[in-house]
Amino acid sequence: MAEDIKVIVFKLGTEEYGIEVDKVQTIERLMPITRVPKTYAFIKGVINLRGVVIPVIDLRGRFGLEEAEHTDQTRVIIVVVNEMEVGFIVDSANDVIDLNRESIDTPPEVVGGIKAKYLDGVAKIGEDRLLIMLNLSEVLNKSEIVQLESLEG
């Protein structure tokens, strides 16, 4: 009896990811980004979204994947989590699907090299399509970033 949720589907490389639609404010084409010095490499800078300054994150960089060239398909997904407005740079975003909560399984230990804690679960759509649901509060968890940095350093 679990309810249906609407999910925005986007791509990083060959993997498909999902974010619940109510967390997403808009999806924008890539726009000029102003670099912000002295921050993490995956924070690309800030953009002007209709008068509001919003930081943008390269999601590939955030997940430790190799960064890709930006193309025509590149999109910025603006999400709002815990009163933080942040833009995610993704390879493409062009689908909205309905998903039954029951079809989401707990994430396996490792998926595509991304730490399991960033993931809410994996949904199977149709026969061979896997959708990775993101845990946005973990993705935007700052204390965890600091830890990551100090480990790398």
């Binding site: 010095p37 509001v52 300054v53 919003i54």
Partner: protein
């Protein structure tokens, strides 16, 4: 009916009324004989009571009701204002304020006010402590106080009646407290009165009496052939009447009332109408324009200003939309110049002008007079002076000076602190002042004024000034400075020590300026607003705290600079000057790069290097542009690639996600839609 939608309106209006009550009470305290002020106070209290009752805040309504009873006696001349009454009324106002605050915070506005209510009721019963001789009796006040205001028309009618040999009576009727149908009793009294003469004016107005909008007493002016005693006996014949006083007026006593009326119509509440000051009753022209005369007293005081209240968030949205519009404007201008169509260019130019005006207006919408903060200070100073047993006049100037709403909201607490400080530590006690050969009443000036891009708010007292020795001794004791450092300090530097954390010259932490917060908190708050506070003090003459504030928090003047392909904004307020230096002028002093500036060496900071700018490196340049910045009295030079120019910029924060970045205080959106970061010069000067 759902009252929630009216709640915010109720809160706003209640606060307005409380403010006006406070102000007028202060005014009345200054000139206690001015009954026109009592009228204004009464009306405000009455409206407040009505609103509270409608909204179902019973406690609020009943307390206001008790206040009204007292005020009613005062305005009808049956009670002379005195200190105890003022204190009780002020206490009531505080209680009302607390209730309204509780309602604002989502509470039900309930409070235990039984002691205040008891005091108010005691006053109504005539039991005023400490002034036994003045206890009001029913018959006495008519000579001492003007009972109520007559307009000029009514005055002249009464005056003529007396001259024609009629009796003019001032009659006061009190109903028994257990009277069930007050309006009916009143009607019976009026019917009786109409039989033997003519009622000229009643208090409260006849309509109110008919609708039972009065407590247990009403008063009136009456023209008749009968004597005061006869009328008194006649009215007492009506059942359920508690007491009737009837006084015959002659030309002289009437003329006192007339003068009060003239004073009120002329709206001169400062000059108290005194008996016998102006000679003849003929001074009141009988042919005075009746309509105006009737309306004027009702209008004087408290004409509502034509404003609407707007949620500040909506203004922010408006600002954002506007900045988008401005960005599009720049795009359009660019396109128009590319396309070179005259019509398009003209349209775009027109649009530019309109949007420029629009921008001005929106900016002005956010500006509010500091008045909104200042108006609570007279009351605070009054109470504080009382509790400290000091005498002080607070003189406010420049209350109309406008500041951005966000600054005004934040500046209240620091100012409260500085004012308390001025009164507690600055102004001496009465005996000390007399010993110092000063007038026993001290003066605190609170003034606000514009100067350039800043607003200054100064708090100046004529007290003892700051004792350098005392400050230094205390600072040494607390380990803030060493004895050697202290000896070398200028007076100004010593004064600045007051702002050091954990500093207090007060031997005993008093309730007034102590409160566990020092001037350091004041300084921090003002700094966080982008302002600055300076102390000027002359021993024996007084102290002046001068607070410098930016006009607005959201818009500043800035210098735009270029570093490679990146643009940054540096607030103009921290820039001393800009210039070009030769590479050879930059020297290495003890490993740090320095440049000579006006006879002294100041550090050189390479912005390009600090911000890791990829496409700019000045190390090969012959000449380098520098921006000399200032923090306090320390200077530094920032090297940049180019100056773009000076601009008014709208400050935006960078959102909650980004960590705090050293040297960056925010962002702004440039004409081309790009974001430029705003440099925080303070970070570059240690």
């Amino acid at each position: 009916m759902d009252m929630n939608q009216y709640l915010s309106m109720f809160i706003d209006e209640s606060n307005d009324h409380l403010q006006s009550l406070n102000e007028n009470m202060m005014g009345l305290e200054a000139s206690p004989d001015d009954l026109s002020i009592v009228q204004v106070i009464f009306r405000s209290a009455h409206t407040l009571k009505g609103m509270a009752a409608t909204m179902g805040f019973e406690d609020l309504a009943s307390l206001t009701h008790q206040m009204e009873n007292v005020l009613d006696l005062v305005r009808n001349g049956k009670l002379v204002m005195q200190e105890f009454i003022f204190d009780t009324l002020f206490k009531s106002l505080d209680a009302l304020e607390a209730m309204v605050q509780d309602i604002t915070a989502g509470g039900e506005g309930k409070a235990d006010v039984s002691s205040i209510v008891a005091s108010l009721q005691a006053i109504v019963r005539g039991e005023v402590p400490s002034a036994a001789g003045d206890a009001p009796s029913a018959a006495a006040p008519i000579e001492a106080e003007t009972p109520a205001l007559l307009d000029q028309f009514q005055f002249s009618v009464l005056e003529q009646s007396i001259q024609e040999g009629n009796q003019v009576l001032f009659i006061e009727v009190s109903l028994r407290k257990d009277c069930q149908l007050r309006a009916v009793r009143a009607y019976m009294v009026f019917e009786l009165l109409e039989r033997y003469g003519e009622v000229v004016k009643t208090f409260p107005p006849v309509q109110d009496i008919e609708q039972e909008k009065f407590d247990y007493s009403f008063s009136l002016y009456y023209i008749t052939q009968k004597t005061a005693e006869e009328m008194q006996a006649l009215i007492m014949g009506v059942s359920e009447i508690d007491k009737v006083t009837s006084l015959a007026l002659d030309v002289e006593s009437l003329s006192q009332l007339g003068q009060a009326a003239v004073a009120a119509t002329a709206e001169a509440p400062a000059t108290e109408p005194k008996r016998g000051d102006t000679p003849a009753p003929q001074a009141t022209p009988a042919a005075a324009p009746k309509e105006e005369a009737k309306k004027a007293p009702a209008k004087s005081g408290g004409a509502p200003s034509r404003t609407i209240r707007v949620d500040i968030d909506r203004l922010d949205v408006l600002m954002n939309l506007l900045s988008e519009l401005l960005i599009d404007r720049v795009r359009l201008e660019q396109l128009a110049s590319d396309i070179q169509s005259t019509e398009l260019t003209e349209t775009v130019e027109h649009m530019s002008r309109v949007s420029g005006d629009l921008q001005d207006i929106v900016m002005k919408l956010r500006m509010v007079p500091v008045d909104t903060v200042f108006n609570r200070f007279p009351r605070m100073i009054r109470d504080l002076a009382k509790s400290l047993d000091k005498k002080v006049d607070l003189i406010i100037t420049g209350a109309e000076t406008e500041l951005d709403r966000t600054v005004v909201d934040e500046i209240g607490d620091p100012l409260v602190h500085l004012l308390r400080n001025a009164l507690d530590h600055g102004v001496e006690s009465v005996s000390d002042r007399i010993a110092a050969g000063k007038s026993e009443t001290g003066t605190i000036h609170l003034r606000a004024f514009h100067s350039g891009n800043h607003v200054f708010i100064e708090i100046q007292d004529d007290g003892a000034g700051i004792s350098r020795e005392k400050v230094l001794k205390s600072a040494i004791k607390k380990g803030i400075v060493t004895a050697e450092q202290a000896a070398a300090m200028t007076d100004n530097e010593a004064h600045q020590l007051l702002f050091a954390a954990g500093f207090s010259t007060a031997e005993v932490i008093s309730d007034i300026s102590g409160r566990g917060v020092g001037l350091d908190v004041v300084k921090a708050k003002i700094s966080s607003l982008g302002g600055n506070v300076t102390i000027y003090s002359t021993p024996g003459k007084g102290t002046n705290f001068s607070v410098q504030l930016p006009l607005t928090l959201s818009i500043i003047a800035a210098m735009l600079i270029r570093l490679g392909s990146e643009k940054y904004a540096i607030p103009l307020s921290s820039i001393v000057e800009t210039g070009i230096v030769n590479r050879s002028q930059i020297r290495s002093v003890h490993g740090a790069k320095m440049v000579e500036f006006r006879g002294s060496h100041i550090p050189v900071v390479s912005l390009g290097a600090i911000f890791d700018v990829a496409d700019y490196d000045e190390s090969e340049e012959e000449e380098t542009e520098i921006v000399v910045i200032r923090k306090g009295d320390k200077l530094a030079a920032l090297t940049v690639q180019d100056f773009i120019g000076q601009n008014e910029i709208v400050i935006k924060n960078l959102g909650k996600y980004l960590p705090e970045i050293q040297g960056i205080s925010g962002g702004t959106i440039l004409g081309d839609g790009q974001v430029a970061l705003i440099i925080d010069p303070n970070a570059f000067i240690k």
